[in-house]
């Protein structure tokens, strides 16, 4: 397990890099074919990537498949990461979430999707114990608490459930426009709450 060291990032990039032990720098090395750097990236992000895939897909085998694809994609496309467009963690997590969602939508109406969406609390025993992750989890939970119930529900269904916003509207029995704005307002409030750098 990694040893926590608060204040490890003297330039205050902490919240934009989030998970980072300078992930952006590692990606630049990965882009040059550095396998050791890729290992380091794996160790930082395999948990989140797999976790998101599990949340969205539910099925462990499929989640593993998607996680592998995503991580290889990171290896393959590291040179396309552009720090000007956002943090390295966001780049990877965007790929991961999209890939999981694509998979779920392609499968369309498969059995797993019929269960009523009840995003689980993420407190299973195999939860990653990285301190950064624990902090993230704490902060996310706290900031979720600052949202209205509908905002939080809509965001959880969309992000963790992988539902499109019309599907979310259907699940919550709300008009489309309402869900659209709830997701946006909720995310904006979360962004401000977590002081995510723009």
């Amino acid at each position: 397990m990694n040893t926590p060291s608060v204040g490890r990032q003297p330039h205050g990039r902490g919240h934009s890099e989030g998970h980072g032990h300078d992930l952006g720098g590692l990606l630049a090395q990965v882009a040059c074919g550095d396998h050791a750097a890729f290992e380091a990236v794996y160790d930082q992000l395999a948990g989140p990537v797999y976790g998101v895939a599990r949340k969205v897909l539910r099925d462990p085998a499929q989640a593993e498949e998607v996680a592998q694809e995503v991580l290889l994609e990171v290896w393959r496309c590291a040179s396309r990461f552009d720090p000007a467009r956002g943090s390295a963690a966001a780049w990877v997590m965007t790929i991961a979430h999209r890939r999981a969602v694509d998979r779920v939508r392609a499968e369309n109406a498969a059995t797993a999707r019929e269960q009523k969406a009840a995003p689980d609390s993420g407190t299973s025993e195999d939860v990653f114990e990285l301190v950064d992750t624990a902090l993230d989890r704490q902060r996310v939970r706290r900031c979720m608490g600052s949202l209205s119930a509908l905002q939080a529900e809509a965001i959880k269904l969309a992000y963790y459930g992988g539902y499109s916003y019309p599907e979310v509207a259907g699940l919550l029995g709300l008009p489309l426009g309402t869900v659209k704005t709830r997701i946006r307002d909720g995310l904006i409030r979360m962004r401000d709450c977590m002081e995510v750098a723009q």
Binding site: H19, V49, W75, R76
Partner: protein, 250 residues
């Protein structure tokens, strides 16, 4: 259905959590290119969404580590700069495992493709004449001295094979093992150039998961061949994220 730009701006949140429908996704991404304030907002909300993801971390199966690190040894990396991908800005490049085949193997592979094509076309006798003309072209692409085979996995499963001749500016595309799309939707093939996407046509359906070959002409080096899932009959422009995208060599 056209969406007003004010409404489009409200989609930043849903976009950041990948909750747009295929149609809106396409419109929104077009809009993003012309709306710096939307792009800014999306950037911030993406960071926020990423935090939701980081908070959901679960330890993956231990065996995954070695598999991924090992696979990286076999996957070629993209060069630092290259053709722009479809969703300019926030790209999600399709997975592709390019294989550079040594010449003799390439020839064998081509022979295999030709056999496969021959078998595939037995079922379409009534289109024989048409097929023959197209077959001649296909055969000439396959036989072109600079023909290259590109294999790529699609995100819905299965493999897409493209034989590309830069000299002839043509490509032959076949797919195998892809599931039949739900809701009477279809696979549509595109040539993506800096000028935009041009439809090549629909991938023919198939009973056993392998499609008969489709010929794409006017494929310039550097163009991408992409397949999207579209409503029955196809569309004028792609409305969904490609399930596979193959870059042709410059």
């Amino acid at each position: 259905m056209s969406v007003q730009s004010h409404d489009l701006h409200l989609l930043t949140g849903a976009y950041a959590v990948d909750a747009l429908t295929a149609h809106e996704l396409h419109e929104f991404e077009k809009h993003l290119e012309q709306c710096p304030s939307c792009a800014d907002e999306v950037r911030g909300l993406r960071e926020t969404a990423a935090r939701l993801g980081l908070a959901a971390a679960i330890a993956p199966p231990p065996s995954m580590r070695e598999q991924v690190l090992d696979a990286a040894n076999r996957v070629r990396q993209l060069p630092p700069s290259g053709p722009r991908t479809l969703t300019a800005g926030l790209t999600r490049p399709a997975r592709r495992l390019r294989r550079r085949l040594p010449r003799p193997i390439a020839v064998t592979a081509m022979a295999a493709v030709i056999v496969a094509l021959a078998i595939l076309q037995i079922g379409t006798r009534h289109q024989l004449h048409q097929a023959q003309t197209s077959n001649q072209t296909i055969a000439s692409v396959l036989a072109a001295s600079d023909a290259r085979i590109e294999l790529s996995s699609s995100t819905v499963g299965g493999t897409v094979t493209a034989v590309v001749s830069g000299h002839d500016r043509e490509a032959v595309i076949t797919a195998a093992g892809m599931p039949t799309p739900a809701d009477a939707r279809v696979y549509q093939l595109w040539v993506i150039s800096p000028a935009g996407a041009r439809s090549v046509g629909l991938l023919p359906g198939s009973s056993d998961g392998a499609t008969s070959p489709v010929l794409a002409d006017d494929v310039q080096p550097g163009d991408q061949l992409a397949i999207t899932i579209e409503p029955a009959g196809g569309t004028k422009q792609p409305t969904t994220i490609p399930i596979v995208a193959i870059h042709t060599r410059r």
